[in-house]
Structures are given as structure tokens and as C-alpha cells.
Symmetry: none
Subunit: 465 residues, 2 copies
């Protein structure tokens, strides 16, 4: 059994001390590859610490690819080879800098929505798709259930139970072709409601609400998340928030802010919070806070998530979890909606999650994205050292915020970067309403490999020196 004494004078929390200790044990070989870790309960008892502490440490190790969860079995040490296996597969690697014009436009496009879809496990997916086509005949020839395949919904419910501590019934889950499709459906379930969305935020939400003719307002986000005082003034009935990792500001909504939002929702009938948990699977350092859905006591939270971001944008599978109060509105109307997701892919995704492939894929991607983030940050270090920029957004997601500390505005940063062949985006681009120019640009690193990111960072160093 693992043994360590905690240093309670340390500024590091216990879970982090435990995480570091186990990591060292793995690195030194004291915990060999394939070894099973003690169960969380046993270790907590053994070290006389809370179960929570162990859970956090294990989660962190799993997130970083040191250990792996095997369903109903436990935690196992992963081989180093596997942790490092990924040979970066650039979608289309740009030519080496020497052979190309340094200022060729869009040599490096740092989009926030770019993902490393080339790491999508095509072979596994293909095999599971074949299995589904062979074995699920009766399911595949039937009219689809409007909420989506029941077994997939049960699998998603189990997943949310295991990784989000949520306990929805499969009957509360509605599967649809993308988050914006589901948001559109919500506007139909709540036709008289006014929506509030985050400012800055994800523009597609505003566009969807707009095209649906739904009333909506933007509400400014401060350091802790959507401002409840402003939300109250907006007179909205439904707010749409990204508490796990605010887009694009990359902050985690504080607990007190979460509680304030829940209070706001509980104040009146027909108030709801849409919790878009987008990107919450890509957390690198900090631990994941409990979802709003989980701590909600008044059935006011609609939980949203998507597989497009974690698998490939080509796969249009998202879902929402309706609280029982909204289910009462949805169920009598459910026959109005044909399911929008192919039965073939629902069955394949079911097998993918059930077989543990999804969790393994996430672990692998977390490692890949963390490396990309590190490579990009390392490349930007000269600018940080020269106190030209500060960085933010490292904890989660697939982009960084780069802020000039020398008074350069975003337009100038974007322009200079473009001259060196790098496309970054001004923060004000993510505001729905006219925003003053900031000193911040947004740079997505998810779609480029480490070498390319280092080159892109080097180009930015030249651009902003």
C-alpha cells in the first residue's frame, strides 16, 4: 500500500501532494506499469484522509494519462509508451519555415474551434460501426425514438454518473444533431422565455436564438462568471452559461456565483439555467467543480454537452439532460420532433463508450492537448520574460488568451501577427455587441502539432518584439 505523510504546512493541498507522490512512484518504477492502484476507499482509510482527496488525486492522474480507469475494475498504471505514443499527425503540416515566405498569410491559423480530429480513432470506430451494422439490425430498421437510442441514453447517464456525479434518468436525456439544434428545441419548449447569454461568448448561440426569433440579451461576464445582478436587470428567464470553462475567457465559475445563479433560477417559475459543459473534459491542472446540474435543488438546470468537440466535428451528436420540471413540458410534445441523429452512429457511439474507448480517447487527447499547450507556451516564453505579454487560459480548453502588457491593442497585435503569417483573433470578436478594442487576443492551439505551434509561437515572438 502507498504510504506518505502529508505536509500540512505546505501551500499545496493534500490532493496535490498525493497526486505528486503517486506520480513519482510511477516515474521511479515503484508502481510498475499495469499495476492496480488501491481502491479510493481503501487508500483514504489507510492514509486517514477524506475520500474526496483521493478522488481528486486519482482524477488528476487520470487526466494526465498516468493511470487509467477500467470500468468496474479500478485504476491501473499506464505504460509510459502509451502516454507518449502519439506521434503528432498534423492535418496538413505547413512547410518548414526556411522554405517559405515568413509572412505568407494564414500559415498558422490559431482557431479556437480547431481540434486534433486526426487523432480520431478511425480504426476502432470503423470496427464498432461494422459491429453495429451486423448486430443491431432490429434497432436500425425501426423508426428512431425521438429522444434517441435508449441504450445510448442509459450509457450517457452512466457516464455522467461516473464522471460528473450526476444521476439523471435516461428518460431525461434528449440526443440531437448539435448543441445549437438542441438550443433551438429549447426555444420551442419555452416559447415565451427571454434568454440571457454570456458576453463575451459563443457567437453561434446568439445566432441560433436570433434565427429562432427568440428574445435574448447579453449579460457581461466578470472574473467569476455571469454577473447575477446584471442578469436580474436583464429580465431574462433562461441564462446560458459555460461554468466549467467560460468561453472565451477560460475561467471556472466560482462556487458562490454558481449558488447565486441557482438562487436566481429558483426565485420564479419558468426560470432555467442552461449549463453548457462544453470543453469540461479538457482540464489540465485544476480539478473540475461540481456541475450546476448536480448542486441544483430546484430542477432548474438543463445540462448540455457534445461529442463533436471530443471526437470529431464531423460527428453531429450532442445531448441535453432536462430537469424533471422541463420534462413535463417536453414529454407531451416529444412526438413533434423526429430524432436528428442517425441510428447507426448512435449505436456505434454506444459501443464506443461502453467498451471504454471513449474514456481512453479522452485521456489520450488530454495528454496531446496538454503537450500542445506546453509547446505553445514554451514558444511564447520569450515574450513573457520580456514582459511584453501575459498568458491566461492554461487550465482548460484548447486556447490561450494573450494580453499585451505594453499597451498594444488587439488590432495591432492581430495585424502584426498576420504579417508574420499567424492568424489570431481579437477578444472583442467574441463580443456580441460592439466592444472597445482590448489588449487581448485569443489563440487556439488544438488543431496544430507541437512543432507547428513552436514555429507559430516563434513567429509571434518576431511579430510582437
Amino acid at each position: 500500500m502507498l504510504t506518505l505523510s502529508f505536509d500540512d504546512t505546505s501551500r499545496k493541498p493534500r490532493y496535490e501532494q498525493l497526486y505528486r507522490y503517486i506520480r513519482e512512484q510511477i516515474a521511479s518504477g515503484a508502481l510498475p506499469v499495469g499495476d492496480k492502484l488501491p481502491s479510493k476507499r481503501n487508500l483514504a482509510k489507510h492514509l486517514t484522509i477524506s475520500l474526496n482527496t483521493v478522488e481528486n488525486a486519482y482524477a488528476q492522474l487520470a487526466a494526465e494519462g498516468f493511470i487509467e480507469t477500467v470500468e468496474k475494475k479500478g485504476y491501473y498504471v499506464l505504460p509510459v509508451v502509451r502516454r507518449a505514443r502519439h506521434t503528432p499527425a498534423p492535418i496538413s503540416a505547413p512547410e518548414p519555415p526556411a522554405t517559405r515566405a515568413a509572412d505568407k498569410p494564414s500559415a498558422y491559423v490559431l482557431r479556437t474551434n480547431a481540434v486534433d480530429a486526426a487523432s480520431f480513432p478511425f480504426a476502432t470506430w470503423s470496427r464498432l460501426m461494422r459491429d453495429s451494422l451486423r448486430e443491431d439490425h432490429t434497432t436500425l430498421v425501426r423508426e428512431l425514438h425521438p429522444q434517441g437510442d435508449r441504450e445510448l441514453r442509459r450509457q450517457i447517464a452512466d457516464y455522467l454518473g461516473e464522471y460528473r456525479n450526476m444521476r439523471p434518468s435516461p428518460d431525461q436525456i434528449v440526443i440531437g444533431a448539435g448543441t445549437t439544434y438542441l438550443l433551438g428545441m429549447l426555444t420551442e419548449l419555452l416559447p415565451t422565455c427571454k434568454f440571457a447569454i454570456e458576453e463575451p461568448g459563443y457567437t453561434m448561440l446568439a445566432r441560433t436564438l436570433q434565427s429562432r426569433g427568440a428574445a435574448f440579451e447579453t449579460v457581461l461576464v466578470d472574473d467569476e462568471g455571469m454577473d447575477p445582478a446584471r442578469l436580474r436587470r436583464s429580465d431574462a428567464d433562461v441564462c446560458v452559461v459555460t461554468p466549467a470553462n467560460q468561453f472565451p475567457l477560460c475561467q471556472v465559475m466560482s462556487i458562490s456565483r454558481r449558488l447565486q445563479l441557482l438562487d436566481w433560477a429558483a426565485e420564479r417559475r419558468q426560470r432555467y439555467i442552461v449549463e453548457d459543459d462544453y470543453d469540461s473534459d479538457y482540464r489540465y491542472a485544476v480539478k473540475r467543480a461540481a456541475t450546476l446540474y448536480r448542486i441544483d435543488k430546484s430542477q432548474r438546470v438543463v445540462y448540455f454537452n457534445t461529442f463533436a468537440r471530443t471526437l470529431t466535428p464531423s460527428l453531429r451528436i450532442a445531448y441535453m439532460v432536462l430537469p424533471p420540471s422541463l420534462l413535463d413540458v417536453y414529454l407531451p410534445r416529444k412526438q413533434l420532433y423526429s430524432c436528428t441523429v442517425s441510428g447507426f452512429e448512435q449505436r456505434t457511439l454506444l459501443r464506443f463508450i461502453r467498451g471504454g474507448h471513449y474514456e481512453r480517447h479522452l485521456n489520450r487527447m488530454r495528454t496531446i492537448y496538454k503537450r500542445r499547450r506546453n509547446a505553445f507556451m514554451a514558444g511564447l516564453q520569450p515574450l513573457v520574460d520580456q514582459e511584453k505579454i501575459t498568458l491566461a487560459g492554461m487550465q482548460a480548453g484548447l486556447h490561450l488568451l494573450l494580453t499585451s502588457t505594453t499597451g498594444r491593442d488587439e488590432a495591432s497585435l492581430v495585424k502584426k501577427a498576420a504579417e508574420k503569417g499567424v492568424t489570431v483573433f481579437g477578444l472583442s470578436d467574441f463580443f456580441h455587441n460592439k466592444a472597445p478594442l482590448t489588449n487581448t487576443v485569443v489563440a487556439g492551439y488544438g488543431g496544430l502539432d507541437e512543432q507547428t505551434l513552436q514555429r507559430a509561437a516563434a513567429a509571434l515572438c518576431r511579430a510582437w518584439r
Copy 2:
């Protein structure tokens, strides 16, 4: 609360009187779709009848698909077309009549929307899916084009050129997850327009327009199709029609009627015709008339079709062809819509059509359905010979219309058929507004094999003799 006085001199038991009363309330719209019925206990108390009577009436309504039980919630009114859906459709042929009670309910469910999805070419599809996963990497990892895969759109354009003599550009085509999804998008492109839909017709269209909050009216169909005089009086801007094979009346719109509709559309700006070409691939005898899209000279026709009906309902791929005039409205807004169909399946469908598999599949299905139709018609021949019924709808599609020539109304036909284990549907079920009982029932033959259809027809002969 529902109120009726029971006729105790009637030979009909109270539960049946209650059942009929509620059914009429649903048909007339007094009890709208989605409405919750009173609890059994409350209704029994209110009408001072026994709980048992209410239970029997509700059970009857549920068995016939007029209402649906939602666990722990209560009873809700179902939309018409969906009424058949939840009665179990035998995917595998039911046992031979000898071994089962002749009047066992729903032994043969003749749904209009049942297709022979078991003939879906799983092996070919699986192979092409694998090819796509292997060869289309760069396409599959990219964000999807909002209109759908460009090569698939080109392939569809070619198909329409070859089989419909239409010459759309791939840029006019928008691929989406189902016809109702695309109709929903149209309501957003034409937010101020009033829609006219066929009466009788496909209820899902009305549901979609209703849930979108779009203004719409129903316009009666006569022998030639939607009546232009009535259409004019409706003051609608957009009419939705099924000229190739009117649903559910199975008639081909006459050429003069087509021209009249086109004239109507050309009269004013912002008038459009949505041509739903659904089922036009299943024509057995008569030749296909030119589509409205093809003979339109004023860019007023939006052409709709789907692959769900010809391949399997599990596949959610439909498309629309926008006329250039509407494309001008769509294009500036297209970034508001994420594509709702998976890239994997778009690429697989591309290969399926390109490789000639789609055309072969259609030919095969035409033969299968023609055989099924013939088997069903042969089985019904005794009733025709005895001049009890006449048949219609043989030329196309997947259902027949059976009309009593002895003055029996549809309710009696449906009830007698049900007693012999056959579920057919009164024509008035397909009316959006209250319709008088007709002498016609609608019987879908697409989902049952020849032997089963013969048995079903034999049961109908016994029922209606």
C-alpha cells in the same frame, strides 16, 4: 373537464360512449395534441361513473394510439400520424393465424410510414463506411460545410439531373437531418410568411409549423391536387405540396394544376411552393410527371426529398434545393446553421450513390414493394369482387386506400378490422381539422412481407364480409 351525458338506452356500453366522446374531442381539436387528460380518478368522480369505466375507455384510446401513457405523469393526446407508431409493428412476421387468437389486437399493423428497412444493404453500406473512414480523413476531420458535403451535393445534383431532369447547382442544395428539420429552417428564412399545407396531409408538417410558431392554414385537396382557388383565399405565401403522390390520397397532381400553382406563386414576390417529392421513387405503373421545380420559370419552387424513406428511417439524411431567389436569402445566413448530418454518413452516401448502389437498391425495392402491393391486392380481391370495397393508390407509394361501397363508415371498418387483428386507419385521421367520417381507410403495406400481407388481407375479408 370533459363533460358528457351517457345515453343509457344505447346498446353501447358506457366505456364505449366515453371512448367515442373523447375520440371526437381529439378529432375536433377540443382536446389538442399534447394536452393532458384528467386523471382516471378525477374523471370518474366528475362524471359519477365507476373508475373501471374510465379505465376501459382510456385503455381503448391508448390501444388505438389516440393517447399515450407517460409513466407517473398521466395520459396525453397524441398527434394523428404518430398514433400508429407505438403499437408494436411486427418486424419479423407474426405467427401464422392458426396458432393465435384471430382477434388478437394489432397482429397486423398497416402503418403508412412502415418501410422494408430489413432490405437495407447492410453489407454494402458497412463496406463503404469503412472505405470512407479509411480514405476521407481530411474531409472527416474538418468542420462540416453548413450546406453539407460538397461532393455529396454534386452527386445529388447529378442524380436529379439524370432521374428528374432537373439542373440545380450543388450550391443550391442544403443537406439536413430530416424533412421537418429543413422545413423548420425554411420558416426561419421566410419568417413573415404564412404557410398552406394539404388537407388531408402529412401531420408532421403541421406539427413542425406549429412548434415553430409559423402561421399556417390547411387547404383542401381535390382530385387534381391542392385547390388553387382555396389556396388564394387562404392568403398563404408558401404552399407545401406532394405533387408526385399526394399523401395520403395517392393522386398525381395534374399538369394544369401544376401550372396553376406556379402561376399563383409567380403572382407576388415572396410566394413559394415547397415540392415534397417524397415517395416519388416508388412509382409502379404510370410514368413520373415533370417536377414543379423543373417546369418553374420564376424561381419559386423549393424541392424537398429524403433518403430516410428509400434507405432506412434510421438514416437521417434529407435535402432541399433552393431556387436562386431564396438562395439569396439563405446564403448570407448560412453560417447561422451548423450542418446537422454526420460527415461519415454523408461520405458513405456519396459512395453509395456514386457506385450505383442507390439506383440498384431503388430498383430492388420497387420490385419488393410492387410484389407486396400485389399480394395485398390479391388478398383483397374477394371484397372487390363482391363489390364491398374499391381500391385506390395502386400507382405509387406504400399504402392503399380501401373504400366501402356498401355505406360502411371508416369507424365501422376500423373497428371490424381491429376485431380480426388488423390495424388500419380512417382517412379522417389524416385531416388536420375536424373531418366528417369517410367510407375510406388507409392501409400501408410497406413494412410487411407478402405472406403476412395475404393473411392480413384474408382477415380483412373476414372482417368486412
